[in-house]
Assembly symmetry: C2
Homo-oligomer: 197 residues x 2
């Protein structure tokens, strides 16, 4: 055990996701030797996130105002909603610069083993939005894994009653990848989703 304050910091850092005891003590020593101004900036950034960042009232993306920057932007295509699991997925899609519609962040995926059912996600809010907004297409962009596929399939069944076209992101070979190294599931999806050339 280190002296009191240093050990407290090691404990607090060790409670963060992905930081084990070794990294925690490495970071704690870094903090000890760092410029006070640098540590003050980290402290200010931590407290700013807690004070200023919330979730968008409409799409549950991260926002510093009641609506997120995307929902506030009138130039975005208001008839498209892309449904994602997490705010970082919004970021990934924005980086493509190909999508100009709105988003809806579920806050996770259906995972019966982890105790996450439809009620723990922003699914009711999505249905309300689809009923109230002039939506013409809902794009399901949940992750292509067991939980994400289960969520997409649940959403497509739920949205069918509203008679809104529902689409799903294509699955297949990643660009720049090698056929030889693709797993069977990806390869069968790529075959299944083949398009005329």
């Amino acid at each position: 055990m280190f002296s009191g304050a240093l050990q407290d910091l090691v404990d607090e850092l060790g409670a963060l996701p992905g930081i084990g005891p070794k990294s925690a003590s490495r970071i704690a020593f870094y903090i000890l030797n760092a410029e006070t101004a640098d540590v003050d900036r980290l402290i200010a950034a931590l407290s700013a996130v807690k004070q200023r960042v919330h979730f968008c009232e409409r799409c549950f993306n991260v926002a510093e105002e009641p609506l997120c920057a995307i929902c506030q932007d009138a130039r975005r295509d208001q008839v498209l909603i892309c449904v994602v699991e997490e705010p970082k997925d919004v970021l990934a899609l924005e980086r493509t610069r190909e999508y100009h519609g709105l988003y809806h962040v579920l806050g996770g995926a259906i995972d019966p083993i982890g105790g996450i059912g439809p009620d723990q996600l922003h699914i009711k809010d999505l249905i309300r939005r689809v009923g109230a907004e002039p939506v013409e297409e809902v794009i399901l962009a949940t992750n292509p894994n067991i939980e994400g596929e289960a969520t997409a399939s649940y959403l497509s069944r739920t949205l069918r009653t509203l008679e809104i076209p529902v689409t799903r992101l294509a699955s297949g070979l990643p660009m720049g990848g090698d056929l030889e190294y693709a797993d069977e599931l990806t390869l069968s999806r790529a075959l299944e989703g083949r398009r005329s050339f």
Copy 2:
């Protein structure tokens, strides 16, 4: 890019050692969703380390007072000094419960490529201590790697003039290890340092 405050936090976290952009954004989202009380405890721990933790005036171990807990403890054997690279090495030796002497923390090891020479380490302070304190043995416990060995060899040459016995931690096979998996250097050290049974 996330919204301002969240991206600032990702940037600050990403500047910490061993935290890449992915971990930084994972931790930033954890902070966003964490209880305010938990984040306040982390902030308090960060600022307490900067305000309260310093280096011991005598041995350069971490301390919250002018002297560290070990230097303050009169029951420690005042004639033994164990020289280590970093405060975390003090911790490792304390965990053995076998050593009851004092320490001297160099603050690193001699590393000409990294630009660390004897003057960047607390070596002059060690020589001063050995001259002023009733020292009977100096144990060199720098790491058994290139920099640590170079430092140990520099120290043993420097301390020779003071006519104080200087010893070095034994190198050899780690306990619980397997001969088959030991690297050549460790195995030759183990042979070299063999003792009668």
